[in-house]
């Protein structure tokens, strides 16, 4: 999943205050699942926005809302939002509660409309604890080696992104950068050992070909 967090309300208010018509667009994909920009958060933001703009700036605005199944789906964005975008034509803006891909999909479909990102996109990861701790798991490097590393990505989870780790800073299985965090290579070692595949730990990985993940990346299918 793509992990995100909502931007501070003050930041959103500042960005939105000069508009008379706002369309808040949520996303039931990653953003909704992690309760950052799903249906409920869209409704909450509408309420807060109306109230805060009235109290702070004495301004009444019209707020429309819509939550899409996935905001990174161009066709879905076009078909679902077109009628709503017409309703905010006069000095209007869209607040997107999706990731950067969602924000840019909306902006791509409606290039004349200002889109305000309501969230900061953090990383591709997983919720590891009930109380909402998220960990980055994948850097979308374009060359997956998880089969060889016991399902643990060193490029993402090692602070130095080492492919031949660990570094000399590993301390009793913990990372030198943050001693509360496990060293990815210590985890890989344990996992491979448990799987009886420790020979893979000895495998040397030559320097990465960075062209594979050089931005901006394009995939044209095969």
């Amino acid at each position: 999943m793509i992990v995100l967090k909502q931007k501070p309300l003050d930041w959103i208010l500042e960005a939105a205050r000069s508009y008379d018509n706002i369309l808040i667009v949520g996303c039931n994909g990653c953003s909704g699942i992690y309760q950052v920009g799903g249906e409920k958060q869209v409704k909450n933001l509408k309420m807060v926005l109306e109230m805060a703009l009235k109290i702070r700036f004495g301004k009444n605005i019209n707020v429309e809302t819509c939550t899409l199944l996935r905001q990174c789906d161009r066709d879905l964005v076009a078909s679902s939002l077109r009628p709503l975008v017409k309703r905010i034509k006069e000095n209007g803006a869209i607040i997107s509660l999706a990731c950067g891909a969602g924000v840019q999909t909306v902006s791509n479909v409606f290039p004349k409309v200002v889109v305000i990102p309501g969230c900061d996109t953090l990383f591709v990861g997983m919720r590891t604890k009930e109380l909402g701790e998220f960990n980055e798991l994948c850097r979308a490097c374009g060359e997956c080696i998880l089969f060889e590393t016991g399902g643990i990505c060193p490029l993402t989870r090692c602070a130095k992104g080492l492919l031949n780790g660990p570094c000399g800073g590993m301390r009793e299985g913990k990372c030198e950068v943050d001693p509360t965090r496990d060293c990815a290579w210590a985890l890989i070692y344990e996992r491979l050992k448990a799987q009886g595949r420790l020979d893979l730990f000895l495998k040397f990985r030559p320097p990465r070909d960075h062209r594979v993940s050089a931005s901006p990346r394009v995939w044209r299918g095969e």
Binding site: G161, N164, R171, E176, P207
Partner: protein
Amino acid sequence: MRKIYSKLMENLLSGKFVYTAEIEAGKTTNLEEIVEKGKMLKNYVTAINVTDNPGACAHMNPLIPSYVIQRDVGVESVYQITCRDRNRLAIISDLLAAAALGIRNVLAITGDHVIFGDNPEAKPVFDLDSATLVYLIRKMVDEGVDLAGNKIEGEVKFHVGIAANPNAVPLELEILKIARKVKLGIDFIQTQCVFDIDVAKEFLREVRKFNIPVLIGICPVRSIGMMKWYIKECPGGIKIPADMQERLIAARKQKGKKAVLEKSIEISAELIKELRKTTNAAGVHIMAIGFEHVIPKIIEHSS
């Protein structure tokens, strides 16, 4: 058998107990102090390492002091290279310059993370890691090409060393990591600080199968605070036996601050004597940054 390009390598393979030391290039434009330190150490050590932005602090490029020490002091240098600050293009270019300047020994290390340093906002590079850096150096030396296979004009004559931590837990993981680099082709191993003779012995036993000369790291301490830093904070973790800690603390209590260093010199010399007598260590690498003057004393007391 690889060709021998350096005095260090010759001595490491000779069976003679080798001493090396380490100096920092420093955040300075002054080379005089480095030359002075080199001169002080010259008659005691086979080679002097120059660290590469140690602790992720931006110092003078170590290639310059490495060259100047060889030219003006007449002692061999070990040019340390980390992977933290430069991508492969920059590292290849530095290595070519080093080869041109007659540097013969290179220590390939990953490098402490930038957050420990004096410019913690910096972007960490790590385009290569210590293993891929060894791989690059082997290609340059053995095949006369860079990483992409582009031909290099002229010869590249380096011996490549790696760092290892005998204190590492689990040690097996550290040994597997060394095995990976041995396969690539390394010439020597230089270790992180060792205070515990049993730690050194176990490590030397484990790496014996690789048949690679090992320089055990010796770090005198000049304060109790420094001793505690090694135990609690030093990246990688360092073990200091309880009785050794007690001896240092007792010296501090009985004779004051300065006595800690005196006691530490004594302890370091004892450790080296024990290594010479009971292990197959090829030598020791003494690290006393900022108080290098103790290195000759330690060596005198240990031999």
